[in-house]
Symmetry: C2
Amino acid sequence: MFDILFLGTGASVPSRDYALPAVLVRSGPDTVLFDCGEGTQRQIMVSPFSFMKLGGIFITHLHGDHFYGLPGLIQTMGMMGRKDPLIVRGPEGTVSALETMLSVCPGEIGFELDVADMSPGDEVSVGTLKVSAFATEHGIPSQGYVLKEPDVRGKVDAAKAESAGITGKDFSVLEEGGTVNGVSMEDICEPVRRGKSLAYTGDTRPCATLTEAVRGVDVLIHEATYTESERDHAERFFHSTAADAASAAKECGCSSLFLVHISNRYKDREVCLKEAAAIFPETYVPVDLALYKTTKKGIKSV
Amino acid sequence: MFDILFLGTGASVPSRDYALPAVLVRSGPDTVLFDCGEGTQRQIMVSPFSFMKLGGIFITHLHGDHFYGLPGLIQTMGMMGRKDPLIVRGPEGTVSALETMLSVCPGEIGFELDVADMSPGDEVSVGTLKVSAFATEHGIPSQGYVLKEPDVRGKVDAAKAESAGITGKDFSVLEEGGTVNGVSMEDICEPVRRGKSLAYTGDTRPCATLTEAVRGVDVLIHEATYTESERDHAERFFHSTAADAASAAKECGCSSLFLVHISNRYKDREVCLKEAAAIFPETYVPVDLALYKTTKKGIKSV
């Protein structure tokens, strides 16, 4: 189950109402941030979340609106006494770009910064979560991410345990991976509950690598810079329309779709929602600082 | 006369209430920005001002909280179609730092960016205004700025003109700097109205170069990171207290003092105001987005 906090839902240029791209996702004890536009640190400050608990930051591409908030956020964490290590990943060039920007204002950060470039197909662990990168198409090195929660073992089925003659201290043997009476833990448990998954695309035009990676993912957070009436702009600048995002969610069998990175030209975002929902009904167009939770019954706005 | 818009009055680390350092000053047709902390572009967007009309940006030093908003602001101006040239000045290292940060996200900006390092004592014109730099002491290359409005010639004194026999077309001769009947324009005009001046210190401990440069300046915008009870912090980190700022304003004969760059430890800034006002009564402690105007009668909060 995810808590999804939309810190900035604007595109390219901020506005009075919309900050630059950044989405925070919490699952159990672990929190990650996707993209870090200028102003992200302050958006987190005015939210109910703490950036001190961030385990990983994943940058989709090195355009300033997705990236210029990163050095300030890192330096602020340091000044506020962070000690926990922080994972930072992005496409080719991320290490160099971040080092360059931090070097402008040199100083001891005070915690371990685990920064590395990451290629499509690579996977990294952030606490209990696995985050893998997939290739997108935005005219420069770019990638989206799929975040997966761990699978959770089902509860012990008391009747099965009893009929297999498993009692008392036998369980500690099974817990350690052993067998008793030829029976293993999974034989007496309810089925594994599959961890939920979430994908964040960053900026991209529709592409096969995206739909391949997102297939079967539960929650899709997709850029939708334009609507179909500006398809020429979308194609020219390697972006997607709301309809493109909805088509991807439908094709991939997702449960829900959030549209982000929406151009300032859409003063009323209802047009984006309508275009997508006609193709994929379970679509949401969050405003800045909107918090959603995934539940067994679906998406809940908090 | 100045319009002074305090975009960010916080220090080092932003908070829910206070953005990072940036102060916009407008005088007649000309507008300049002092410092450009992360998030400045959006602070301007939520204010009544336009960053498209900025003629110059002056950075006091290259700590991130004073500087990390600059590349994003420049790129946004470009994306929004700015064509007018923009002057950017800062201490030694500014050209290199800005080029470095912009190079992370390369692209055509679309207007002339006149960036240069500036040394204490240097002066630059921004439209009708003159901006000169003075040395400060912050442990790294740092400087404050004095902004001067042009002097304005007094009105023609009709009685003087008549008694000197100046009539009709004689005035065009005088306007061009000539004399008629041995009389020049200034002989028949009321006294010159001296242009007002304003100083912005950036981060600094008290220093003689500051008081020397600020002497006789009308409006002083001075950092006041701490109060006297944290004097040890102020000394350790090359900062000033509210009392230091007030003492400088008093010593320099300023008309009014604004305290900025106030540590987040002061939840109630009244303590900073009281400390300064006990030394220099005409002290103001602005909140973010506060707009003040200088008038003949003094400072007016708008």
